[in-house]
């Protein structure tokens, strides 16, 4: 895909070799990006799989988290504190939203859900601009996480990114335990499997749904808050991650948290190495991956 003038990136610039340490570091980058994607996608896939709601506004929750981190850490003077408060706020926000709108849409057509949440994107964007303005903001990294670990002569790895990965792993584990080990998880699975049956068993499906939705929103917001210090906080930051989230969820198989994890890592891998090895098509690679997977398994890697 060479083109006259402008950037003409060699189609396969990997022809010059990548030394082993660099390769390892790229691997690390892939995993780290993948984990962040997972945290975002997990909430989406839960809401998808259990309530069957297509939520285009999920990116807005990510943005909400980032902006919360910005204001709260300024107010409270500590990101950790901001994280806790922000998480609570966003969960509360999720509950309110579920009660006000979403619970009326579980039984509705996917189409209506797409439309509703698309409308919400508009609303959230405008509210964001009214509340926080349109400037770009930064969120300071907590001092004790500010260091970097030297890896090679001139490259070092920021501790904070490791911290992010750690949080993501922790959340992944937490989710796994919650869903497969706890009573609540049992009920959630029952609800996802067959809501009538679950109701017959005397499970308060309404409550379950509310909780799951709130968790989903919370996850997205936390992802936003965790990412804020490295991503900085700016308008429309939600819409950019949204599509990537959907790709992850769909590749993984809607509703499967495990699938989301695997596919997030996969996407991280493809995106990272794509940029280095196939720069000229890196924009399309992830979507090619998704298309390929769905042609092979029309319902994603881990169909529920």
């Amino acid at each position: 895909m060479k083109s006259k003038g402008g950037t003409c990136l060699p189609f396969f610039s990997a022809l010059h070799p990548m030394d082993f340490p660099t390769f390892l570091i790229q691997l690390l980058n892939s995993v780290q990006y993948g984990l962040l994607l997972f945290m975002l996608a997990a909430g989406l896939t839960l809401i998808f799989g259990i309530m069957g709601v297509v939520n285009l506004a999920h990116g807005s929750f990510y943005m909400l988290g980032a902006y919360l981190a910005y204001s709260l850490s300024a107010q409270l003077g500590s990101l950790t504190l901001a994280l806790l408060v922000g998480a609570l706020l966003s969960v509360g926000f999720g509950l309110a939203l579920e009660w006000l709108l979403f619970r009326h849409f579980y039984k509705r057509d996917h189409l209506d859900q797409v439309l509703l949440t698309f409308g919400l994107i508009y609303i959230f964007e405008e509210l964001r601009s009214m509340i926080w303005g349109d400037d770009v903001h930064g969120v300071a990294i907590p001092a004790l996480l500010g260091e970097s670990i030297p890896l090679t002569a001139n490259l070092s790895y920021p501790v904070y990114r490791l911290f992010m990965s750690a949080v993501c792993v922790a959340l992944a584990l937490g989710l796994y335990l919650l869903i497969s080990k706890t009573r609540l998880g049992m009920k959630i699975r029952a609800g996802a499997f067959n809501r009538d049956m679950a109701e017959a068993l005397g499970i308060n499906i309404k409550l379950i749904h509310a909780i799951v939705f709130a968790i989903g929103v919370g996850l997205a917001a936390v992802a936003g808050m965790i990412a804020a210090p490295v991503s900085s906080v700016y308008p429309n930051m939600g819409s950019q991650v949204l599509i990537m989230c959907f790709v992850v969820v769909v590749i993984g198989g809607i509703g499967s948290v495990r699938g989301a994890l695997i596919s997030a890592l996969l996407v991280g891998l493809v995106d990272t190495f794509g940029k280095v090895l196939l720069p000229s098509v890196s924009g399309m690679l992830v979507y090619m991956l998704m298309a390929a997977v769905l042609l092979w398994k029309p319902e994603g890697l881990f169909k529920q």
Binding site: F118, F246, V247, A291
Partner: protein, 337 residues
């Protein structure tokens, strides 16, 4: 997912009346409106064609494509590449080729996507559209992120002699109007054809259709390609009118807006798509032109109004404006008796 409700396929008198009035208004408009509004309505009609093409999938066949803009944009690009830098090419050449390009793209992509169902279908169509988007966005050879100019309007000659001059805004207006009516007539026809009935059956209960012996894959693929080609017609007209095409025409928002237009008007009867396209555009312009009230510039917050409007429509008028008109028509009827 809810069980699909019956589409409003046959119009009650009230709705038919509204449509005829609308048509009359459209025919008369150029003699009233200024150039700007003539162009604006032309654009709305182009979007109406685009929306109708999507309705064939979304409303009739129950295939919600979140990537329909790809085929809209492709035809525009086809026109841009077919149009020489310093002379005008003929419509007889560029129109069929552009529409064909979109149709073929839809055929190829459709071959993969119509295998998937429900939300997966929504997502895969989106994914393929994104691929097309980035293909053009990332490659300077294809115009890159800034897009391409189309320096001339195609010529419409018969023999030695010019049929019409599309540079004339009114001419282009009526040309587009004709195209829109043609597409509408064609799709209405198709709706009642065995093909159309089969698509409706697929929307309501594909599994049963297969058990009855329908090769649904062929039906869906044909519908997908046909819709792509018609979207291409719209995209071609867009390119002719604006003379400038860019990747955003294939973007996520373009696709989402089309979905919205179809729902806003009412699905599965094509008239709804037209009403929706006009409604959506008018409302958007209205919100953006809202006046200053006190210290607040209402227009500045158009996103808020637009978003709320969409949410309200989904909640109160899931069957769209025509659906509403129909419902109220019936209420009236009941009251009269």
């Amino acid at each position: 997912m809810s069980t699909p409700t019956a589409n409003l396929e046959v119009f009650p008198r009230s709705v038919r009346l509204v449509l005829w009035l609308g048509l009359a208004a459209l025919a008369a408009f150029p003699f009233a409106g200024s150039d700007f509004y003539v162009q604006m309505v032309t654009r709305m009609m182009i979007l109406a064609i685009f929306a109708m093409s999507l309705d064939l999938l979304q409303g009739v066949s129950g295939l919600v494509s979140l990537g329909h803009a790809a085929y809209f944009g492709l035809a525009g690009y086809a026109l841009a590449f077919l149009m020489p830098q310093n002379e005008a090419a003929s419509l007889w050449l560029t129109l069929p080729l552009s529409v064909l390009a979109s149709g073929l793209a839809a055929l190829v992509i459709g071959f993969f996507v119509v295998r998937t169902h429900g939300i997966y279908f929504i997502m895969v169509t989106m994914a393929f559209a994104q691929m097309v988007f980035f293909l053009f966005f990332d490659n300077k050879a294809l115009g890159g992120s800034d897009g391409l100019y189309i320096n001339f309007k195609p010529t419409v000659n018969l023999g030695g002699w010019t049929l019409m001059d599309l540079d004339n805004k009114k001419t282009l207006y009526f040309f587009t109007l004709a195209a829109m009516l043609l597409v509408y007539g064609f799709l209405r026809r198709l709706l009642w054809s065995p093909f159309g009935r089969a698509l409706a059956g697929i929307r309501v209960n594909e599994h049963r259709m297969r058990a009855l012996g329908f090769g649904t894959f062929g039906y869906k693929l044909t519908a997908f390609s046909l819709a792509g080609a018609l979207a291409g017609l719209a995209g071609y007209l867009w390119g002719v009118q604006t003379g400038y095409i860019n990747p955003e025409l294939m973007g996520f928002h373009m696709s989402a807006h089309a979905i919205m237009m179809v729902i806003l008007g009412g699905m599965g009867n094509f008239a709804g798509a037209i009403v929706g396209a006009f409604g959506f555009e008018v409302v958007l312009h209205l919100f953006k032109d809202l006046p200053q009230v006190g210290s607040v510039q209402l227009g500045k917050h158009w996103q808020l109004w637009m978003g709320s409007f969409i949410v309200l429509v989904v909640i109160f008028a899931p069957r769209g404006l025509l659906g509403l008109a129909d419902r109220l028509g019936r209420h009236k009827g009941a009251a009269d008796e």
